[in-house]
């Protein structure tokens, strides 16, 4: 991964939603970089802004502030959030999304063929029909769909099959970056494994870059090269997977890791409880957002927001006490 080049450079993204005079800060000042061919996992509890971040990056939402520098296939670096609609259409082909719920993200009135075909028709309206068909067939076969069933409607497919349809739809334009928003969360474990393997194979074949948003830490640990942890709209830690899981630097990451159920009854890891609930993002706490639930909290934490710094090579964290704390993670056997 050493020689790979930067494909996404996300800088200081803010997303604020205003409703009835209340301003909800869904994403606050998130920055990270992604190299080509990597998988980045984004984890956090529900309501922490993972999905919003993903949608900001594909520009399904218009972020309030920030830039997303994207290195296009032709080597040009563009600010994905500043370009006009017309140019964006050009580049959006290269950034696609797989949605969470395979049941509600497919139009029940369209056949599977039409669903997979739609992105092509929208982007290449002049492509000859036969060529379109061929493209759809190829991609459907690639993701493991039986091509004789493509004239059917989504309801005739099982959850895992539907997720494959969603993947085919995202892949049909030959994207370079795919944002997977809880792409396997709704599936049974055995099907989950199938889909994860598929994503893995496709990544190798097409040199894809994934932004993998999930609340399932063991899936993220398996699939990601780097992981970002979000809390209340902020990225609190960002590091290579193994470093993050074995040596977390942020107290929130520590308690998140301790809560993961391990499929082994002999492992009874002691949980570090998080007291209380996530504060209201419309009225976040002062200082460090996490201080209300942090067991290492000091006076400074209550007043000053910690800076997001690179404490160790490639290991970013936002915590006043990250340097002194010895936090517990998973022990890796070699």
């Amino acid at each position: 991964m050493s020689e790979s080049k930067k494909i996404l450079d996300v800088q200081n993204i803010h997303m604020r939603f205003n409703s009835k005079g209340i301003c909800v800060r869904a994403v606050t000042d998130v920055s990270f970089t992604v190299n080509e061919g990597e998988t980045i996992g984004i984890v956090g509890e529900s309501g922490c802004g993972k999905t919003t971040l993903g949608r900001c990056i594909v520009r399904a939402y218009e972020p309030s502030e920030g830039t997303v520098l994207y290195t296009a296939a032709n080597g040009e670096v563009i600010d994905f959030l500043r370009i006009d609609k017309k140019t964006m259409k050009e580049y959006r082909k290269e950034i696609q999304m797989i949605f969470q719920d395979p049941y509600s993200s497919l139009d029940p009135r369209m056949t599977v063929l039409d669903i997979i075909k739609e992105p092509i028709l929208a982007n290449y309206p002049k492509m000859p029909k036969a060529e379109v068909e061929k493209k759809v067939m190829d991609i459907a076969a690639k993701v493991g769909l039986n091509t004789t069933y493509l004239k059917r409607y989504p309801h005739a497919f099982s959850g895992g099959q539907r997720q494959r349809i969603g993947i085919a739809r995202a892949l049909v334009l030959n994207p370079r970056v795919i944002v997977c928003d809880e792409a396997v969360s709704a599936l049974d474990v055995s099907i989950q494994a199938q889909v994860i393997n598929l994503l893995h194979d496709l990544q190798k074949e097409f040199n894809l870059t994934y932004l993998f948003i999930s609340h399932d830490l063991s899936v993220v640990e398996y699939i990601s090269d780097k992981v970002g942890v979000m809390y209340l709209g902020k990225l609190v830690e960002y590091a290579p997977t193994k470093a993050l899981f074995s040596k977390p630097l942020h107290p929130y990451t520590e308690s998140l890791l301790s809560a993961v159920p391990v499929a082994d009854p002999t492992v009874q890891n002691e949980r570090i409880p998080l007291e209380g609930e996530i504060p209201n993002p419309a009225n976040p706490p002062t200082g460090c957002y996490f201080h209300t639930r942090c067991r290492y909290c000091t006076e400074t934490c209550k007043q000053e927001a910690p800076a997001y710094v690179e404490l160790e090579p490639d290991h970013f964290v936002a915590c006043h006490r990250a340097r002194e704390l010895k936090l517990r993670g998973f022990s890796y056997d070699e």
Partner: protein, 344 residues
């Protein structure tokens, strides 16, 4: 019936009439739950876990026909086969919600949005314990405190939409525990929750189990929570139990190819990344017009042609408290004695 058992399910079969024919959703399930233990019922969606648990309470839809025996040690009725009771009768109602209660999957859906939380928890108390509304409220408040709902007096008068997911699940547990049941059925109680909240709820259930001395039937597809919660595990596939063993044994020494597949398809943090996850090919078939032989035949990587697609394996003891239904593991009898030949 063994005195140590709180419930014994014998040869439970559930058929569902649908337009295309009869679905055999549960095909001869046997298990027992001992006093004070937690049994995990594991399997993918569509394998009949929920139907089995609902059959115990007699709350399946009318089109589901259950056969077999479900023996339960009831308070007033003594030993009773729950399936023989009228599902709308007085007897089952004295058991349902009082001696056996259930926590449903999605707390947001399980509560009625029209009534206050207190009102809904009270319902069981008023039905089973006391007719005095004041007393009922006291009992409800006490249980709410026990499950860790802070500010119980205020929460009592609130509506479900004012609760967060984790709090609502606590309220649901309070509702299930208010009558001090002997058996608690928990149907995917933490699937809809975040890991941190999930860990809280599981710990809560464990400590309450100690306090109340009840047995738990824990239904889930998540092998991680099973490892944390259960004493014994029964793995279900296509309406049958294919393997059952103590929890430690099943993770250390899984025998059935399906169990191995399930465990293999979950990545364990801290282990070396294997190139690919182990995955079971295909999907669970619809239990309609099932072919003869083992239900797992099509997806099995150890299948023996001529045996597994001809005979249907039944559960055989292979070790201490470890049972398995698989010819590839227990040896394949050419002329099986106690296996019924299902040729058609």
């Amino acid at each position: 019936m063994d005195n140590n058992n709180i419930i014994e399910v014998k040869d439970l079969r559930i058929n569902i009439k649908i337009d295309e024919g009869t679905l055999t959703a549960v095909r001869g399930v046997n298990f027992e739950i001992r006093k004070g233990e937690t049994l995990g019922l594991v399997g993918e969606s569509g394998c009949g876990k929920s139907l089995t648990s609902k059959a115990i309470l007699g709350i399946n839809e009318k089109k589901c026909k259950a056969e077999g025996e479900i023996w339960f040690e009831a308070d007033e009725l003594g030993r009773v086969d729950l399936l023989t009771l009228n599902p709308r009768g007085k007897e089952i109602r004295s058991v349902r919600g009082k001696q056996i209660s259930m926590i449903f999957q999605e707390p947001m859906v399980a509560f009625s949005p029209m009534y206050t939380i207190g009102n809904q928890i009270n319902e069981a108390t008023l039905l089973h314990i006391t007719k005095d509304k004041k007393k009922a409220k006291e009992i409800s408040l006490e249980v709410m405190r026990k499950v860790g709902i802070a500010n119980a007096e205020k929460r009592y008068d609130q509506y479900p939409h004012e609760f967060s997911g984790g709090m609502l699940q606590r309220a649901l547990i309070a509702m299930a525990l208010v009558c001090n049941p002997k058996l608690l059925i928990a149907d995917e109680p933490t699937t809809a929750l975040d890991v941190t909240i999930q860990a809280q709820i599981l710990e809560l259930m464990k400590s309450l189990q100690k306090d109340f001395g009840m047995s738990i039937l824990f239904i889930t597809h998540d092998l991680g929570t099973v490892a944390r919660m259960c004493d014994r595990v029964a793995v279900m596939y296509l309406g049958k139990i294919v393997e059952s063993a103590p929890a430690v044994e099943i993770y250390k020494n899984p025998q059935h190819p399906y169990t191995q597949g399930l465990i293999g398809s979950v990545h364990k943090i801290g282990t070396k990344n294997q190139e690919r996850l182990f995955s079971i090919e295909g999907t669970v078939p619809l239990a309609l017009n099932l072919p003869a032989g083992c239900g797992f035949y099509d997806r099995c990587h150890k299948r023996i042609e001529g045996v597994c697609n001809v005979y249907d394996p039944s559960l055989v003891d292979i070790g201490e408290d470890h049972k398995i239904a698989c010819f590839a593991c227990t040896g394949c009898p050419n002329a099986p004695k106690n296996q019924e030949v299902t040729d058609k």
